[in-house]
């Protein structure tokens, strides 16, 4: 058999290869629409994760670290720290640990979240230490300075909470929940409740913010713990965040009080 004949056979035989019938247009369209409606609101595949989400996580990271630097410097200027705090001295990051360096050194998501989580754990320890000191004061520390340290730690906690909420929203949209987010949210909830309970929370605005934060983080803890990937539950969390303006209030409080030198 010559090549031309084979080519003829190839051409004629190929035309029948897996020959399709009529196109089931309406059935497929109905299923496409049903599937799109069933996906969580704001669902976005990983590939189209908006850059602004990770930019805001990066901003929150820089904020936490910069607040950490401020706390460290303020504590140094305030004099010898009280005994409770001395056991867990506030870290004074060196220049090489500046926010920009850390963020730049942790370009991938998981490393960045790990770093943020570690920072909020440090904040948690500081909160516990300050809460343990009687009236936030000691023989060697002026009450005003203790109050200042407390407020700075609160700001750091708020920045950390914003980072966690942002990371959660991003992960939830992708349908990905991991154990780290669950642990992180539980720790932040515990710290938030501790802050609400301490006597130093006399500021009504701060008190309301912490109460709103409590509610939102509690919902996130429930969501991440049960791992249901339930879109209705996710919608409720989003609603809480939006209705209460949690993210806006967090950023506003942190940046306003930070720049006011509080």
């Amino acid at each position: 058999m010559n090549d031309d004949r084979i080519d003829e056979l190839l051409a004629s035989g190929a035309r029948d290869y897996n020959q399709p019938g009529s196109v089931p247009r309406e059935e497929m369209w109905a299923r496409i629409q049903a599937s799109r409606q069933a996906r969580p609101a704001g669902h976005q595949p990983r590939a189209s994760r908006p850059i602004w989400v990770w930019s805001s996580v990066g901003i929150a990271a820089a904020l936490i670290l910069s607040i950490g630097i401020v706390i460290g410097r303020r504590v140094e200027r305030a004099g010898p720290p009280p005994t409770a705090v001395a056991t867990h001295p506030v870290a004074t990051p060196s220049k090489r640990d500046s926010a920009a360096t850390v963020v730049a050194a942790t370009p991938d998501r998981d490393s960045l979240l790990e770093k943020l989580h570690d920072e909020t754990r440090k904040t948690d320890r500081r909160v516990r230490d300050l809460a343990a000191a009687p009236n936030g004061a000691s023989a060697t520390r002026r009450p005003a300075d203790a109050n200042l340290a407390y407020h700075l730690v609160v700001l750091q906690h708020l920045a950390g909470s914003e980072a966690m909420i942002t990371a959660f929203r991003s992960a939830a949209r992708r349908g990905e929940m991991d154990a780290q987010l669950a642990t992180w949210s539980r720790e932040l909830l515990s710290t938030t409740r501790m802050l609400e309970a301490t006597a130093a929370t006399q500021d009504p605005t701060m008190k309301r913010l912490l109460e709103d934060l409590d509610l939102v983080i509690a919902q996130i803890v429930q969501y991440t713990t049960h791992g249901t990937n339930n879109s209705d539950e996710l919608d409720l969390i989003e609603q809480s965040i939006t209705t209460r303006g949690v993210i806006t209030k967090l950023r506003g409080t942190v940046s306003a009080r930070n720049s006011a030198g509080i």
Partner: protein
């Protein structure tokens, strides 16, 4: 001077306009996008999968992903090419689940020996050819199916697969060569 004929908008402009309307949640635009491309995509999916249910699944998945990622369409390629890129990726990833290919491949081993019985030209030779197409590699099969079976141009194939036009031509050449070998070995002296 005669009036100039009405100028048709460039197809890429129409694509961008349609996408913009879809992104603005225009339901009619979404349906128009679907209607414009579903037939060709379904046919390709059926050619690749050899199964109507799988073809429908792949087609649905293609459009679901396309609507999710529509803001990523920049108009650098045509909308058709962009959709076909998604479609081919969906099909290749989903092909492992299609049993029909495996079944047809097994047929080759079950076919009676050439020397043992007279072969009816049309049916068995075609089946052998189809099995040989099934057996083409993941690199060669899409190109052969798109070009020789469905009539896509090399430019369309290259755009959809993300390969140079030259590579598309080279792969088609290789695919045909392999199929000729398979056909020649089978048909042999049975063809006058």
């Amino acid at each position: 001077m005669t009036e100039s004929a009405s100028v048709q908008p460039h197809p890429r402009l129409l694509d961008r306009e349609l996408v913009a309307r879809c992104l603005a949640q225009d339901a009619l635009a979404e349906r128009a996008l679907y209607d414009a491309h579903v037939d060709r995509i379904y046919r390709l999916m059926h050619r690749m999968a050899g199964d109507a249910d799988a073809a429908a699944d792949f087609t649905q998945e293609t459009f679901i992903r396309a609507f999710e990622r529509l803001e990523q369409f920049r108009g650098e390629s045509s909308l058709a090419t962009w959709l076909h890129t998604i479609a081919v990726s969906v099909a290749l990833n989903g092909m492992r689940k299609v049993k029909r290919i495996q079944g047809r491949t097994e047929m080759i081993d079950d076919m009676p020996s050439l020397a043992a019985e007279a072969v009816r030209f049309t049916g068995d030779l075609k089946a052998r050819l189809h099995a040989a197409i099934d057996a083409l590699s993941e690199k060669l099969r899409p190109v052969f199916v798109m070009h020789d079976v469905e009539g896509y141009t090399h430019e369309e194939i290259a755009g959809s697969l993300g390969i140079p036009v030259g590579t598309s031509k080279a792969r088609l050449f290789d695919a045909r060569a392999k199929l000729r070998v398979a056909l020649a070995a089978f048909a042999g002296d049975h063809i006058a």
